[in-house]
């Protein structure tokens, strides 16, 4: 269908954008890459009174590594992150995650802010940021704040972001360069939404698991850390047996639902296989 009618606004600065949102009392949507918002509008799933086009806010388009953190601006396109060599060197898990977003056309236009704000439980950014322990930075006319990913994502397409608030970027602590990692998805066709996605970040000390973060997307209502699975690993040598145990724990922890693409039971089963494989891959990548 044709897009519903809306007022089109194009601010030149972040402050201007935020006051426009405030002026519309929550009945405005921020437009960045448009890869989710435009289909939502044309399917009439949303009818905001105004669209605030962020295209001119160059201040939100950045990739910086400083003070032990990787900081990415909300307007940074997926492709810019996927092809950034510093990101690849400092945080290969994120590179792997972002490279699996949609198709090339989508990565050319889609932005970090859009992906995070949409809070799709099977999307790549939310899962990667959750496992990497990143914080979501937000701003509104009232001021700025940030939340850890675990407190930001609240449910399917539901987050802590206020109606007049804008995601401005993320800050991700740089992982230990020796940490092993994995980011895997199962898709029905290339570029599709993942049926199940798994991210793992793992550190060994003297052959024992010192720290591990296991996150699952697509089989849970939010990108979720698998606490029991992590507990099953910490302090133990990551043998195949131990990893199987952790994978089984993750399968018990996920909470998938049936939909037309797969049953809950299948997703649970796949989560187990994928957590196992992701852990094996991460252990194999642990550096000296």
């Amino acid at each position: 269908m044709a897009l519903p009618e809306f007022t089109y606004l194009r601010p030149g600065t972040l402050d201007e954008a935020l006051s426009m949102a405030a002026a519309h009392s929550g009945d405005a949507k921020f437009l960045a890459g448009g890869q989710t918002l435009i289909p939502i509008l044309s399917m009439r799933l949303a009818r905001p009174a105004a669209l605030i086009d962020l295209g001119r806010l160059a201040e939100l388009e950045y990739i910086r590594i400083e003070d032990g953190e990787l900081r990415i601006g909300a307007l940074t396109r997926h492709r810019a992150v996927a092809e950034n060599e510093e990101v690849r060197a400092a945080c290969p898990l994120l590179t792997a995650a972002v490279s699996q977003i949609g198709h090339a056309h989508i990565r050319n236009r889609g932005t970090l802010g859009g992906s995070v704000a949409h809070a799709d439980p099977s999307a790549e950014y939310p899962l990667a940021i959750t496992v990497l322990g990143g914080r979501i930075e937000m701003a509104s006319a009232e001021g700025r704040r940030s939340l850890p990913a675990g407190e930001f994502f609240l449910g399917p397409l539901f987050s802590a972001l206020g109606p007049e608030e804008l995601v401005t970027g993320v800050a991700i602590p740089l992982p230990d360069p020796r940490a092993g990692w994995s980011f895997r998805e199962m898709v029905q066709r290339s570029g599709d939404f993942a049926l199940v996605s798994v991210a793992v970040l793992l550190k060994l000390e003297d052959g024992l698991v010192q720290e591990v973060a296991i996150g699952v997307g697509g089989a849970t209502s939010i990108p979720m850390r698998m606490a029991a699975a992590e507990a099953a690993l910490v302090g133990r040598a990551p043998t195949v047996e131990v990893i199987r145990e952790a994978a089984a724990a993750a399968a018990a922890e996920v909470d998938p639902t049936d939909d037309i693409h797969a049953s809950a039971e299948y997703r649970r089963n796949i989560a187990r296989v994928m957590v196992r494989d992701a852990l094996l891959e991460a252990v194999g990548r642990v550096g000296a």
Binding site: M1, H103, M186, Q188, S190, R244, I270, R272, V273
Partner: protein, 765 residues
Amino acid sequence: MITPKDVVGRSLPKIDAPAKVTGRAVYTADLAMPGMLHARFLRSPYAHARITSIDTSVAEAMPGVSAILTAFNSPGPLFTNSKWDATAMGRLPHKDQHLFDLKVRYAGEPVAIVAATSVAAAEAAAEAIMVEYEPLPVVTDPMEALASGAPLIHEERESNLAAVLPIHVGDVEAGFAEAEIILERKFQTSRQKQAQTEPYACAAAVDPDGLLTVWTPNQTPHPVRLKLAEMFDLPASKVRVVVPHIGGAFGGRGGLMAEPWVATLAMKTRRPVKLVFDRAEDFIGTEARHPITINIKVGARRDGTLTALHVQSYVNAGGYLTVSTNVTGVHGNNFLRLYHCENRWFDGTVVYTNAPVSGAYRGFGAPQALFALEQVLDELAEEVGLDPLELRQRLMLKAGEIDPWTGLPLVSYGLDKCIEVGAEAFGWKERHTRKAESTYPWRRGSGMALLIWVSGTACLGDGLMEGTAATVRFNIDGSVEMATGATDLGTGVLTTLRQIASAELGLPPEKIHVIAHDTQITPIDAGAHASRSLFNCGNAVRMAAADARRQVLEVAGGLLEASPEDLELSGGEVFVKGAPGRSLPLAHVTRVAYKKVTEVQGRANAPQANAPGFAAHFAEVEVNVETGELRILRYEAAHDVGRAINRRIVEGQLEGGIVQGLGYALCEHVHVDPETGTVQNASFMDYKVQTAADMPPINLHMIEVPDPNGPFGAKGAGEPGLIPVAGALANAIADAIGNRVRELPMTAERVLHAYNSIQGQGGEV
């Protein structure tokens, strides 16, 4: 000199390629006319409901709204969406629908249509129409729809049984009594959507002397014209159907999906009207491939000989009949045709349900049949200890034998060659040793399927009218125009037809202007279906070109004082054979011809003949037995196409068909909620059409055994690529995992379930 050798078999560029790659091709949605209105359907959210009232007063008062049609002011005549009642005789589908009714029978059925000055105004007005529905119980499954107490969908009928198509030959009871092995299996096929890139669209205008012109991306313009003429009580001469470029059809664009509604608006408003579907409407408001429940029982002797074949199919027609009876007939005959069996019994039970309407899609009932039949043959081969290929070779029709469907002998036959070439390229004999190359969790398997198809249905001789004609005209200046009734839905058929005319006339193809896609100036034709266009229209073009050439040579004979038989037409010159000095420019001959008689115009009707295409497909897959994921390692498809007149176009047809077959086999399915009858995945996000990145290597082998009745030996190649794919892949999967998936699509989840269902498989990973 230009001879057939120079043109036939050459991969010349498509006529429409420059327009399409430069973005200048005009599609129906691109049309703009002075004063044009934009239309929008209001569609029912209920799959089964009575309409108690429709209040259009608010909508009518909205700015820009010109007209609103509903059941209260425009019920329209009783009609059927099927094109067959226009061009066939004998067994016809019954008429069962109106433009608008006070009852809706599927979710998405039109309830009203609005014409307004802009798309936005039409959409807003459609939303402002207030309809009161009295919801009725919904039934989407054919078995449930046949059960007593099921909600009655067409209340003038006794039950939801729409039709039964029986094909009974021999004595199946005696056949089963004779059998040493009996296999009885059940299969369920899916609802595949054509998923054309271009959403459906239609425009209509009535000129002051009453000519109704309809623009539509329809693959059967002449039948559409006849149907509209009947519906509006007009002579066919007062209806003109123009087909702009088509952005995909695949069989699904042969009925009336928008034309009579838009035409009614144009007649009522006296202004041009255009309607463009959105993507969701395309999924719910146009036909899809029939889901069919198949119960198949085969009886055989220990040597593999079939003694009885019994098939009962339940065909889900959806809310209206459309072409369901025709599809069911083709479906049934594809069980009973290729493999020898004296005792054959098919009943096709066509059932109304509140599911969306099913209809024609490339293969027309055959992909469903082969999914079941080719799997059962593999199971039989295992039972009797024969190689699946060897069993098929024993059972299949041979050259010269009578084709039981058409009753005609197989005068051209390339199936043995397809098998030989395909099996050799695939390494069929070595397939077992390759199994060891896979490591856990991957398991490897190989499978195959065979196909016999048609080049049009004229061969069936049961009242289907497949005649066509062509005209080839020499203008006074010697330039040439060829008019054909063929419709090019992206198949390249117009390019190929021009090559045929070129070969016959000895003129370079670019010198021949092609006239098509307009019923006012093209010969009557049944439309693009049943892999017939090249075969039927190609014969007509060839004969018309030969007729025109004969006339030119007759006139030239007088001028050159030679017998026409001693003359040759080539490269724009007429000359005496063996005496190249004695020649005349073509333009001179045509000028004289015009002075003496009139323009030179050849005409021809195509013959009604049988030319089945054949195919053998071989697939090797690897299945991940922990996830059910599938990798296709190799796909060899050998096709007997008679003669590839434009090789690249034929390759494109076969490859495109195989790609759609892969989608059918593995992932495509329109999900219909059984409770509400609504479509749950009416978008390209949720309806899974595979992408280029998902394609396995596909190797085509073109087998050219010319058919004596085909133009330069050619046979139809539009549908055969698709039909055997699901059967071949199903057999490969079964070989890999040791169990069968009997339901389409064969998703990873279903494959895993089949694997885990075997005792001792699956479990802890």
